[in-house]
Symmetry: C2
Subunit: 477 residues, 2 copies
């Protein structure tokens, strides 16, 4: 393994994330898909490497010269991205080899995900690539993205081209995590890398983990898998990665029916879910529950300190939410704390009964004189309590300005004083107000989740990861 923080220049994923030049081979017709979009995305994202569009039928695209064929390009080409007919791809591998190209992203579909003939083409592609020493992402992929160098060769138009830099990396056997499929501008905590493995005929999650382990821009890794190729290698690499960076996995194809569907999606062989679960526990991989967790749960790891224990403090404006999430907490070894005598007394002095967990500020809000002033004090006291390892804060999104500002005060108070993870759920009568408030709170560095259950899942997984790293213990839900 290379030293931490240093990626060897010849790592397979350096070829995909940091190419000095890219050939884009396909149609350049103005459309929402294809080479036209790839070149546009690269230019608009600020990619500084050389871009060589290849197609005999075009002269120019977005001001760049289009070469009739790869061999006309006057220099070596680091990476080729192809969107040509499946039957022509293997031949293109030979052409790429002659240009010194050692990496290809095969966007083309019609391979193992389609039928037996496609599976044959995929095998042929892999064989020839092996002979030529070329590594493949795909086929049937939406490609990759690297925010560090503006390398965004997106083939589908997302309407935006730059993504905020941040510590989250996503790898998936689907294009559903590429920019055209998810509103990354809404993901405040920012991205480092995105990779769609497509049919995953060659380069896979193990290669990606190896690279991301050393990538200084990546702090947390989210994976969508339908299958794994080499369980032993995955355990070995993941074990090493999870020592310093959390790895979250959502795996579909858990049921027999799902496995069958997976085969027709990427042509992949699925793995028994119980075996996969054991693998995750050994390697410290955290399992996600649903697709959108891929984007949601990393926010916790990207922004918050890990908890020192599983003792949960709750401040809520409604008692029911406290009850709802305690059930969820039990899954993750998270349990409702008891406030220290000191905090309890301080809160009970503010309002009778306030010093009981979950701290329900509802009755107080209707009864005290400056409810929103006192609110910041209450949250601050609970967050700072020595019996509290993590905080769940429930926020009422009322459109009134006085309320909005009061919440920002609450988070300022927490930010100054504590190093504990905080998860926030916002509810209320106006979705616009809730969205504004979520943006305000995330801008201050605190993740907001879409449901109370999601808050506790995020805190629970943070605690599971902490246990794993400290005790080397297999994590348990």
């Amino acid at each position: 393994m290379p030293k931490a923080g240093k990626i060897p220049a010849d790592h397979v994923f350096s070829r995909f994330f940091e190419p000095g030049s890219i050939a884009v081979i396909g149609s350049f017709k103005e459309s929402f898909f294809g080479g036209y979009v790839i070149v546009k995305s690269l230019l608009k994202a600020g990619y500084k490497g050389k871009i060589f569009p290849i197609n005999p039928a075009y002269r120019e695209v977005h001001g760049l010269k289009v070469y009739p064929s790869l061999k006309e390009v006057p220099q070596e080409v680091d990476l080729a991205m192809v969107m040509i007919n499946a039957r022509s791809v293997a031949g293109m591998v030979r052409e790429c080899a002659r240009k010194g190209t050692r990496a290809m992203i095969v966007v083309s579909d019609g391979f193992a995900e389609r039928d037996e003939e496609g599976a044959r083409l995929q095998k042929q592609l892999l064989d020839i690539a092996g002979e030529e020493g070329i590594r493949i992402i795909g086929p049937n992929t939406a490609g990759v993205l690297n925010t560090a160098n503006g390398f965004n060769p997106s083939a589908y138009d997302a309407g935006y081209y730059r993504i905020r830099k941040g510590p989250i990396a996503i790898g998936a056997m689907t294009g559903m995590t590429n920019p055209q499929a998810f509103a990354y501008p809404d993901l405040y905590f920012g991205m480092s890398k995105i990779c769609d493995f497509g049919n995953k005929c060659d380069v896979d999650e193990c290669d990606l983990l190896e690279y991301l382990a050393q990538d200084p821009d990546t702090g947390v890794i989210s994976l969508y898998l339908e299958s794994i190729r080499d369980g032993r290698r995955l355990i070995k690499i993941a074990k090493s990665v999870t020592k310093t960076k959390p790895v979250l996995v959502f795996k579909s194809g858990r049921t027999k029916e799902g496995a069958r569907a997976s085969a027709s999606h990427t042509g992949a062989m699925a793995v028994n879910d119980r075996i996969f679960d054991g693998l995750c526990r050994q390697a410290g991989i955290l399992r996600l529950q649903e697709f959108k967790d891929l984007f949601e749960i990393p926010k916790m790891f990207a922004s918050q300190a890990l908890p020192k224990g599983g003792r949960l403090g709750i401040v809520t404006i409604t008692g029911a939410v406290g009850v709802v999430i305690i059930d969820e907490g039990a899954r993750y070894g998270v349990s409702l704390t008891t406030l220290s005598g000191e905090t309890k007394q301080a809160l009970d002095e503010i309002y009778r009964g306030l010093g009981t967990m979950p701290v329900d500020i509802g009755p107080m809000m209707a009864a005290v004189k400056n409810p929103f002033e006192i609110y910041a004090e209450v949250v601050g006291a609970v967050a700072a309590d020595c019996n509290v390892d993590m905080l769940f804060n429930v926020v009422w999104a009322n459109p009134a300005e006085v309320i909005f500002n009061s919440y920002l005060k609450v988070y300022e108070r927490i930010k100054e004083r504590i190093q504990k993870p905080v998860a926030t759920w916002i509810y209320g009568p106006s979705s616009e107000a809730a969205a504004d408030m979520a943006k305000g709170i995330e801008t201050m560095g605190f993740p907001v989740f879409a449901s109370p259950e999601k808050c506790i899942q995020a805190l629970g997984l943070a605690w599971a990861y902490k246990r794993y790293t400290v005790q080397g213990a297999r994590y348990t839900e």
Copy 2:
């Protein structure tokens, strides 16, 4: 039991949902909470009954005369809503009785949810109410709402006062389903009734179900419960209700820890979750998975026909989603269908490989000439296939106008031709475009859900309910 569609005038919930007059007893200070808000909500929601604000310290509120005490009111009062100190509530019951009042909504807190002294006050309240023949909702409740007559005595200001009429009724042991806590203007399919039982010292979910069974405005009932008081009565009433109207329940306090928290929230005794599960299966009650399901899942029942079988058709622009939701489907006896030979052939003629389930239009969209024209045809063909009982449609929210309009065409086509449930998930690079498209699709009568898993849960519960009503079978997940 009364005849279907006819609520006996003296049903306990007629007193709460259809009072001819209401006394509002509490503070009328301008604020986001209290009597000031209740009177405002009633007036703005168009309540036509008489409103009597009661407080010796005020003369007038929102143009209405404030009476110094209940006994000064020059007529009988059907319902009293009180927000006075917990210790004064029992005395107020006597006063109400003298005014002919037979129903009280006790908003005041400080009862069994607080401490032993509060539990004693609650018992006293109940005893005196029993003596006087007065029925109680609460204490510690946010109250009720009836869209049919504009009866909206909300004590917390939601910023809006009228809710769209529709078939969904919600009853909960929390104020989290009242207007100040949820953006009802976003719930396109509309509401009939809302009730927060609060500490549920008297009137409970059985009473509500009895009323809603006969309520012509209610078509589907969503309940949040932390505890039940009388399992036998609940089974008996629910069995009768679920013959014609689906009843959905989210129950918290499932774990030991949650049960403890529940006790401190509403002072309620929790019930063993396994026993509760058996009860639901006997009575045909459908269980929900998380809090927000209370609002989400009813949309399916409020708008779609019940499926005739569990054979799922999927049209998606991404293969992965097909895989993800098949796992979820397995939980609900929903399985991926195989298209009839005729449909398969028709689709394969449009694009090679298209006639395979899940129908992945991704490759086609990039390859054919008028992808969005053909798209409506494809969805229409799948929806109409005799092997398809329910449809999951995945929509790509691209801001381009041509795409937006193409989706509306798709739903027009479905609406004309089939009577099968359809669930839609929207994804894409712009949350604004997704929200606009969701609104467009829901306006056409088709529910949109926040995740692929939620779509299949809604379809699966519809199929579970259908099986229950047809076969009298206990539903199984």
